[in-house]
């Protein structure tokens, strides 16, 4: 029993990261219909930047995070304006190819600026809590709590604020939204800015808890899309549940089935959901 509980706790940390990645992807996809494949590499850029600000510029963690978030905001705007807006009216395949190209560019830039060595964001959270035989390091606990906080903020933003309502209006019916006076040129900008900031948060969490290295971002974005397929496209609750399900499935698969094939098992779950329930766990049929 302790073993199962421990595995669930193990899976929740990476699951929380998956949720954040998936949230960024799902808002972009749900509203703009773009599979933003570069999201993982952009997220890793956020993590790298935080590390750089702390170690080379001597900024404290909190300040570094704020600067990285502000950079993420601007980066999101640029990505929308320069890369995706020119192909907005072309077929979806073009946007996806742009996304692939963007991924290569960001991966290359990360490599150029930050090198190929793995990077770990230093933190002071070294305590380990032991609750009846189930251990949880302090840092993991904070990551899970921070992810929960971000999910709640995101939900309130989309449900309660005026901008959030405009975003939802565009997602549901673009033409009607235009008639209602929503500016369809600013909405994509807002969506990309928010999505990139969520990605930066995920990148920082990965960098603090694990490590950032070339290729990690691509791995994460694939898991993020798996979460979307699991949870249902464009659905925030779907992303949350899908992310946790994927993280915990991986931990349980590695612990009880086969550690070599844990990723395969996670993809098998995804493909099974696709066959049985193509609209995802939380999607509307």
């Amino acid at each position: 029993m302790i073993e199962i509980l421990q595995q669930i706790i193990n899976g929740m940390a990476i699951g929380g990261v998956y949720v954040l990645i998936a949230l960024g992807l799902t808002t972009v996809f749900g509203i703009l219909g773009i599979a933003h494949f570069a999201h993982g590499s952009v997220s890793m850029f956020g993590g790298y930047l935080t590390f750089f600000l702390m170690t080379s510029q001597g900024l404290p963690l909190a300040v570094a995070i704020l600067v990285a978030l502000a950079t993420g905001f601007v980066l999101g705007l640029l990505i929308e304006l320069l890369a995706y807006r020119p192909v907005r009216s072309a077929s979806h395949i073009n946007a996806f190819i742009v996304a692939l190209g963007l991924t290569m560019m960001v991966e290359g830039l990360n490599l150029e600026f930050f090198g190929h060595e793995q990077v770990v964001i230093p933190t002071d959270f070294n305590r380990v809590f032991d609750i009846g035989g189930v251990t949880i390091p302090e840092l993991r606990l904070y990551v899970i709590l921070a992810a929960a906080l971000l999910i709640a903020t995101m939900t309130i933003f989309v449900e309660k604020t005026k901008t959030g309502q405009a975003i939802r209006a565009v997602a549901e019916n673009r033409d009607a939204a235009i008639l209602m006076g929503v500016n369809v040129n600013t909405i994509p900008l807002v969506v990309f800015a928010i999505s990139t900031m969520l990605g930066v948060c995920a990148g920082i969490m990965v960098g603090a808890l694990f490590a950032i290295a070339p290729g990690i971002g691509e791995g994460l974005v694939i898991k993020g899309f798996a979460v979307l397929i699991l949870g249902g496209l464009g659905s925030i609750p779907g992303a949350v549940i899908g992310g946790l399900v994927l993280g915990i499935t991986e931990a349980l698969a590695a612990g009880f089935l086969s550690s070599a094939y844990k990723d395969v098992i996670a993809f098998v779950v995804m493909i099974t959901v696709l066959l049985v329930r193509p609209q995802g766990l939380m999607g509307k049929a």
């Binding site: 770990v120 032991d130 808890l209 694990f210």
Partner: protein, 338 residues
């Protein structure tokens, strides 16, 4: 050489650590640049690809630190390798751990990588011979950094010791997460990482007492005078300490120099390749070799360095002792493989 002096003209290409990239680079060296002697090769996949065709080429290939065993079991007469295969070290490590009295060992490794798996196989054989066993083999991928699921499973099985084989980047996380999960059995490993690489991930307290059982390579605590001088010169000239792979390149270069002198030709690559096989250990080399029949490379073209047990003590890797390694017996075993 004789009355003629030859300068080594170095042409370098990136093998991109991938088989196609390496094949392309070597094709270009041989076909376009007319290169006869090719040194380097760190990665098993890339080296394997080149080794598969080098036997038909008019060139000599000196492999540095690619650890995949099959590279020197294929009977390629124009190929030699400086680093011993991983299972040669694994057997020595198995004996060492068994001598410590551990009976039930849990393995966590990059087992999809061939030479790590062969290290564990050889380790297991020696452990079994001493009455011990490997109770579980858990794997992780190259990009995995969260090994808590595997470690939790291991924790439930109450091993006497754990053995970690893999690249330093993930291995450092394993050592840290093992402590975080409250696993307090001895930790052995085969990672060859530097202090700095580990401390980026884990604290010195979390690393305390970890063993690394690996080829001795260039270790100041056990090095010869030439080795110490090399370390000093390199550090003075380049401003950083030599990387673990640099002595392989250095020693290869001297082996090649002596072989060319012994063969008396730079044109006849077959003669140089044969001379390499007959070469005693040159005086300039910086690592410690265990010659077989008095020669640096055995009939398979394989050299053997000593293996060592290192332990993390107060923030540093400390050389504790040589591992019991039998180069002659391993060489005979290697000759039986194909």
């Amino acid at each position: 050489m004789g009355d003629d002096t030859y300068m080594l003209n170095v042409i370098a290409y990136d093998d991109e650590a991938n088989p196609t990239g390496a094949s392309n680079a070597v094709r270009k060296l041989i076909d376009r640049d007319g290169v006869k002697f090719i040194l380097g090769f760190c990665c098993s996949g890339a080296t394997g690809a080149v080794a598969s065709f080098i036997g038909n080429e008019d060139a000599v290939m000196l492999v540095g630190n690619a650890a995949e065993r099959s590279i020197t079991t294929r009977g390629i007469s124009n190929l030699t390798r400086t680093r011993p295969p991983a299972d040669y070290t694994g057997a020595a490590a198995g004996t060492f751990v068994a001598d410590k009295g551990h009976k039930r060992v849990a393995v966590l490794g990059a087992l999809d990588v061939g030479f790590y798996a062969s290290y564990v196989d050889a380790f297991e054989k020696e452990l079994n011979a001493a009455g011990g066993e490997i109770i579980t083999r858990e794997a992780f991928g190259l990009k995995d950094r969260d090994m808590t699921p595997q470690l939790t499973k291991i924790r439930e099985q109450n091993p006497d010791a754990i053995l970690v084989v893999g690249y330093v980047e993930p291995a450092a996380f394993i050592y840290r997460q093992a402590v975080e999960l409250g696993i307090d059995v001895p930790r052995y490993g085969f990672t060859s990482g530097s202090e700095e690489q580990f401390l980026r991930v884990a604290s010195s307290e979390q690393m305390e007492g970890v063993w690394d059982l690996r080829p001795t390579e260039l270790t100041l605590l056990s090095a010869t005078e030439t080795g110490i001088a090399y370390h000093a010169n390199y550090s003075a000239r380049f401003g950083i300490a030599p990387s673990p792979s640099s002595p392989y390149a250095y020693d290869q270069t001297y082996a090649l120099k002596h072989a060319i002198e012994a063969a008396g030709t730079v044109e006849d690559t077959a003669a140089v390749a044969a001379a390499l096989r007959e070469l005693p250990v040159p005086p300039e080399v910086v690592m410690q070799y265990l010659p077989v029949d008095g020669k640096m490379f055995d009939v398979n073209g394989q050299a053997y360095t000593s293996n060592g047990a290192f332990q993390w003590q107060d923030g540093n890797w400390v050389f504790v002792q040589d591992l019991p390694s039998d180069a002659a017996a391993y060489s005979a075993f290697l000759s039986t493989l194909d």
